[in-house]
Amino acid sequence: MRTLLFEIKESMLIALRAIRANKVRSSLTMLGIIIGITAVVVMSTAIKGIDNSFQTGMSALGSDVLYIDKWAWFTNEDWWKIRARRNINMEDYERFEELATLPSAVAPVINSRQTIKYGDRRVESVFLNGSTADYVKTTNFTFDMGRFYSEIESKSSRHVAVIGSEIAKNLFPRGDALDKTIKIGGVSFQVVGVLSEQGSWLLGSFNPDNQVFIPIGTVFKNFLGQAWNSITINVRAKSPTLLEETKIEAEGIMRKVRGLTINDENDFSINQQEGLMTTLYDVVGVIQIAGLFITGLSLFVGAIGIMNIMFVSVKERTREIGIRKAIGAKRRTILGQFLLESSAICLMGGMVGLLLAVLVSMMINQFIPTSVQYDAVIIAILVSLITGIIAGLAPAYTAAKMDPVEALRYE
């Protein structure tokens, strides 16, 4: 045991000596592994970042909420057929709400995009939601300041607004948004609440912190004609386990409300997060696998580079190997020396790659929230070490089994 440790230590010193003696070659070899490790670590961190923001985005949707809509999120039906459906209007909503027994909350929603101004500050293309006071019950919103608008404010279509955290940040850098009067599409609204930050939504241009909520009546009055626009009815089940029952009930009620007979197809869709989840998960999964495969490939190329250079190095140092054998180096000593050399090169490359990866993900962090995690660090070190051993194995074996007489004769 002690002699083994001694041998490992001495082989390590010899390997380090060899690396130091061939600085240029060693660092060129390292380059391959540096690029490989950087790519793999950055990719896996980016994937984790995508995953995280995907999850936050998804949880913002709520796993226990149904969205009754003219449009289906996922469908095999022809687009023109769906387009021909009747709009869902406020009457549908009111009758639905009356009849539904299972939901914990029901709220009509209509969306628009508007510019919001306060003084000379403005935010373009804000996602505007018109709804009732019950809307907040279909969400998990928390408030930085103020509250959601009340039922009275909603029913009487008062010009009050609840704004997302990012809008608040942009319009009121000093954080004094409450009770200020802002202009939404040129119409004055009073801010009654500011939502807490919900995290960015990666897919598409939708950002949950860049929303405004106002009473639905004010939307119809100022921005969208009631007759021409279909609303969405958000229905929250009492619990996620009751979602399926709530959905069945909702379908029955909607058919009744819409006056469909037994032979009619549904002229509405009941959307839920689950469908979105599975479909998007598939997409994200494919991106992840493709990304890891491509970056893995660069690591593989790096490993081949190392193997190549180790072979050259063994060939070039044939005489050295002969000398070492002549003065008593055993096969395993030579094997260990070259294995340790390639592992050490890879490990150093891995460290540098890791460092670069941290820098790169700091840059990416501007777009996608990412950070290099401990597990990525451990994986990078392990991967580079294993790469080094695998890449060094064949060349080291070649070196170890060299005939000392031949090796000493090598010019």
Partner: protein, 238 residues
């Protein structure tokens, strides 16, 4: 006592479909503290014999006992251990590690012998001092003259206190004055009780030895004691 006992040794190389006899049938004994020169023209088999004596190679047939232990059928690792502990090599081309300094070169066999850092440093420094390179320890081979390089190689050969010193044309790459200095050093080493086997094709080098074994075509042609042995004045080497 015999250090080396070779009986009917042969070494055959396979070149294509042809068998080439480098050594046909060699029998010889070398005692402790002998100073032997192995001579012969090129192709006589002297390099092959040296490789066998040095345990770098194993015979095709015949018996080789080193210190009464048969090495004919030892494994690679066992041979490596014998080379490490019992044999000190001195080569024509010095064969030092080019990127390591003199001290590390001398230290190397002790590393393979598993000797701790402090002891091997001390022994390597001592060996270098013995060959007169006390103030050249941290020079790399390319910063040393040919003679100095060969001294480093001799120090490396001596540092493990081996049973024999095997020198293959040790003066072949040196000018005659430097070569003579190296031969004086060998005489000194011999007088300290070491066994030296010298392979050379030059008569005046071989005459430093006490006994000359002449090879021809893979056989021992002549094995004789040197009558007019050159014994240089010891002390002038350093």
């Amino acid at each position: 006592m015999n250090i080396i006992n070779i009986e009917h040794i042969a070494r055959v190389y396979q070149v294509g479909s042809e068998e080439v006899f480098a050594l046909r049938d060699v029998t010889l004994r070398i005692d402790k503290n002998e100073y032997v020169a192995i001579m012969g023209p090129s192709g006589s088999g002297k390099s092959t014999l040296m490789n066998l004596l040095g345990c770098l190679d194993t015979p095709t047939s015949g018996k080789y006992e080193f210190n009464s232990v048969s090495v004919s059928d030892m494994s690679d690792n066992q041979l490596a251990a014998i080379r490490n502990k019992e044999i000190g090599f001195v080569f024509q081309t010095f064969n030092l590690l080019p990127r390591s300094d003199a001290l590390h070169n001398v230290e190397l066999p002790l590393i393979y012998a598993g000797i701790s850092y402090h002891e091997r440093r001390e022994r390597a420094e001592h060996a270098l001092t013995d060959v007169g390179l006390k103030d050249r320890m941290h020079h790399k081979p390319n910063e040393l003259s040919g003679g100095q390089r060969q001294r480093v190689a001799i120090a490396r050969a001596l540092v493990t206190k081996p049973s024999i010193i095997l020198a293959d044309e040790p003066t072949g790459n040196l000018d005659s004055k430097t070569g003579e200095e190296i031969m004086v050093l060998f005489t000194e080493i011999h007088e300290k009780g070491n066994t030296i086997i010298l392979v050379t094709h030059e008569e005046y080098i071989a005459e430093h030895a006490a006994r000359i074994i002449r090879l021809r075509d893979g056989l021992v042609e002549k094995d004789e004691m040197v009558s007019n042995r050159k014994v240089p004045k010891v002390g002038m080497s350093v």
